[in-house]
């Protein structure tokens, strides 16, 4: 049964119309045309933004075992690059970065949790792919990290490229896009290798650390995180080879564009703030800046906040409580964190891929 919500009314009597305007013959043919007018919303996504505002906090799906991105810190709190974006969204909506409830999710649970409306937004290093975007009825808001599949090897092996790895054994987690990319990469280069597949990331990593494999493959960010947790990180190196594109970012359920807009403009706002040189330290002085873009960004001028359904100074709150993109990056992924060079995650003006949309 499909119950389509038309505003406040429900029209369960009407058979589902396969195409708008093309109504199947039904007894109440006269009443039927009301149905195609229903906005195309999924039951869970429709009024999500209002629901969140009424609830008073956001529910954020995160990782809890990936150092740098989403993990539980020694104080027992959720922390990491992705977690900071949850805080930024909460700061934008409620002016309070702590108005978040975290839901730790494993890879297999993450998409259903969003589809069923259990969480408001998913920030768990999830690759933006066509199938997930369409068939799984999800909407990515933005990209907050450009990743790629990499290969970690031992320094003493002397490998520099995948071509050097003739006859090598490569550890990999099964059931991911990783194992297909791996097969493609080696086949393309005509290099013979032996894959060894495990179900859990932990087992894959243990087998590599014990020397069962010559290399371990996964997303580069993940490899960096795993490497940082090893007994002797300096004995391992991540090759300068990228086997696939992995754009990661926050996503919401399909159908609630208003909520999705909020998430994406918070991400872009933090990136724009870095570009304009506004940070948590100077945001109060910047309120009196002459730069028109900065004025609009901080809500001194214009009404961008209203159009999003947020207070006009929402970016001030975000910057005060969480910081701009560079601050978040450095805190978790920079030299004091798990140390991933910014590479493609530099601003576009510095030759990277981070390019926030125009703030006007």
């Amino acid at each position: 049964m499909v119950f389509t919500a038309c505003g406040q009314q429900e029209c369960p009597e009407c058979p589902p119309c396969p195409e708008a305007g093309e109504c199947p013959p039904c007894p109440e043919a006269a009443e039927c045309p009301e149905c195609p007018e229903c906005p195309e919303v999924s039951a869970v996504g429709g009024k999500r933004f209002q629901l969140i505002k009424d609830r008073g906090y956001i529910i954020c799906g995160v990782n809890q075992e990936l150092p740098g991105f989403g993990y539980i810190n020694p104080e027992g709190e959720f922390a990491g690059f992705d977690v900071d974006f949850c805080k930024a969204i909460a700061a934008a909506v409620f002016g309070d970065a702590t108005a978040v409830e975290y839901r730790p999710l494993v890879a297999a649970e993450r998409l259903p949790a969003l589809q069923t409306g259990e969480i408001d937004v998913l920030l768990r290093n999830t690759t933006w792919t066509l199938t997930r975007d369409t068939a799984n009825e999800l909407d990515w808001a933005a990209v907050n990290f450009y990743d790629g599949q990499g290969m970690m090897v031992r320094v003493e092996s002397g490998f520099e490229t995948l071509e050097d790895m003739e006859g090598a054994t490569v550890c990999c987690t099964t059931g991911t896009t990783t194992e297909m990319n791996l097969a493609d990469a080696f086949r393309m280069r005509g290099v013979e290798y032996t894959p060894l597949l495990f179900e859990s990331t932990q087992d894959t990593n243990t087998a590599y650390e014990e020397g069962r494999c010559d290399g371990e493959t996964s997303d580069k960010s993940q490899l960096a995180a795993l490497r940082s947790a090893m007994a002797n990180p300096e004995e391992h190196v991540i090759l300068d080879v990228t086997m696939s594109k992995e754009p990661l970012g926050p996503l919401t359920a399909h159908g609630d564009n208003k909520w999705n807009d909020v998430v994406r403009w918070v991400v872009w706002g933090m990136q724009e703030a870095e570009e304009q040189g506004v940070s948590s330290e100077n945001v109060d002085q910047m309120l009196s800046s002459d730069n028109p873009t900065v004025k609009r960004l901080l809500g001194v001028e214009g009404e961008v906040g209203d159009s999003l359904g947020l207070p006009n100074d929402f970016m001030v709150k975000v910057l005060q409580q969480v910081g701009n993109y560079a601050e978040v990056y450095d805190r978790h992924l920079g030299p004091e964190g798990i140390d991933i060079p910014r590479g493609p995650n530099e601003l576009w003006i510095n030759g990277g891929l981070i390019y926030p949309m125009a703030w006007r």
């Binding site: 099964t174 059931g175 097969a183 086949r187 032996t194 060894l196 597949l197 014990e210 020397g211």
Partner: protein, 420 residues
């Protein structure tokens, strides 16, 4: 219980009739009348039919409901994906490349499971037989060692044992080589043991193998014939007509003659060589295969040992005493008197141990061995065909288990016939 009551009272009453015939007649008639008057909701025959109908309706309803759910979600039930390119790689067992189909990938899994299960069954039986007998030994040390092994292994979970064996034992073996220096444990052969697996020398058929294998067939036929002849002699006269060694030597000499007659060596010993990052040549058993087979053998062997012990203890003590009185040696008593009788008790529970071993091999997924279940879980993750793949998994395990029990039931029947 209540439903059976009319029957019981009926019988009791008919008992009465035989005792006091005349007086009982009217009561007997009354009973019959009461039986026909049982309301249908208490009539066992009606209830049985109704229960069957209800069961069929339930099964159909569940099936239709599942089907309608399937349709509603726009899913199509089809095995068409089996012809599609798998595009992942598998490196255990028969050759596979990413351009091969899903069907081929599934076959890789089936073959790997069959390899582990068949080798595991043979080795676990041997281990179980030896340990079971050892536990009954008069030698205190031997019997205690056997009991300790059995009790430890039987009372810890198999998955834990497998993880321990793989991560804590096999992966802790030395590396194959460190900085161009071979660090693997090298045994004569050469055999290399490292955490990359066990590399063994292995015979490979050469060009002249084609003209040599008929000798093997002849040797096998001659051996079987001699065996039957010998057994007939025992049946007829009570003594074997010739020594057992004749049978063995026939099995050995015929192929040796063939080896000398055929030009060149029909089998060449392929020796493993450490080349680059791995050992090539010979045969290489992967650490995952070794861990899984060893784990299953050790675990199932402990259960089989108990089955064997139970079977031996089920043979009356008098049998042993009588045999000893007639001058049989201990070995002869075990081989000729006790074991043949114990087998009748041993075989049926042994079948279920074999089935357990076959099904337990699906734990391979935890230690990276590409068995049927591990390959299938990759298949369903990449193709999204959950229902189809699970049906295939179940059908495969079912047919494997049924063939094991079919063979074992035939064996069982042959042994049971001996009983008088």
């Amino acid at each position: 219980m209540k439903r059976e009551q009319p029957d019981i009272s009926g019988k009791a009453v008919s008992g009465c009739i035989t005792l006091n015939q005349g007086a009982g007649m009217s009561r007997g008639a009354a009973t019959v009348g009461r039986r026909t008057a049982v309301p249908f909701w208490r009539d066992e025959r009606v209830l049985k039919v109704l229960a069957q109908i209800a069961f069929v309706v339930l099964v159909l309803a569940i099936g239709l409901w599942a089907l309608s759910n399937y349709r509603e979600r726009g899913l199509k039930f089809s095995f068409g994906f089996l012809d599609e390119e798998a595009s992942f790689d598998l490196a255990e067992g028969i050759a596979f490349s990413p351009t091969d189909s899903y069907a081929r990938a599934f076959l890789v899994g089936v073959v790997n499971t069959a390899r582990v299960a068949s080798l595991g069954i043979v080795l676990a039986t041997l281990l179980g037989l030896v340990t079971g007998i050892a536990r009954l030994s008069d030698n205190w040390l031997v019997s205690k060692i056997a009991s300790i092994y059995i009790e430890i292994v039987r009372n810890t979970p198999l998955l834990v044992q497998l993880f321990f064996l793989y991560f804590a034992v096999i992966l802790k073996l030395p590396q194959l080589k460190v900085r161009d220096e071979i660090t693997a444990i090298t045994l004569p052969g050469p055999t290399y043991l490292s955490n990359r697996g066990l590399a063994l020398p292995w015979p490979r058929p050469s060009e002249s193998f084609g003209s040599w294998w008929p000798f093997l067939v002849v040797a096998l036929i001659v051996t079987v014939l001699l065996w039957i002849l010998r057994a007939r002699g025992v049946q007829r006269t009570g003594h074997p007509s010739f020594n057992f060694l004749w049978v063995v030597s026939a099995f050995v000499t015929v192929p040796v003659i063939g080896w000398l007659v055929v030009p060149g060596n029909p089998l060449v010993l392929d020796v493993p060589v450490i080349e680059g990052l791995r050992a090539t040549g010979g045969t290489v058993l992967s650490p995952e295969f070794v861990a899984l087979t060893l784990g299953l053998v050790v675990y199932t062997g402990a259960f089989i040992a108990e089955v064997v012990r139970a079977g031996i203890l089920a043979v009356p003590k008098g049998q042993t005493e009588a045999a000893r009185a007639q001058g049989f040696t201990n070995g002869q008593i075990l081989r000729l008197i006790v074991l043949p009788q114990a087998l009748r008790v041993i075989i049926p529970p042994l079948i279920s141990q074999y089935l357990n071993l076959t099904k337990n091999s699906s734990l391979a997924v935890g230690i990276g061995f590409l068995d049927l279940y591990a390959v299938s879980s990759t298949m369903l993750n990449q193709s999204g065909r959950v229902v189809e793949v699970f049906l295939m998994i179940m059908a495969s395990y079912l047919s494997m288990s049924l063939s094991v029990s079919l063979i074992m039931n035939v064996v069982n029947r042959r042994i049971q016939i001996v009983e008088r």
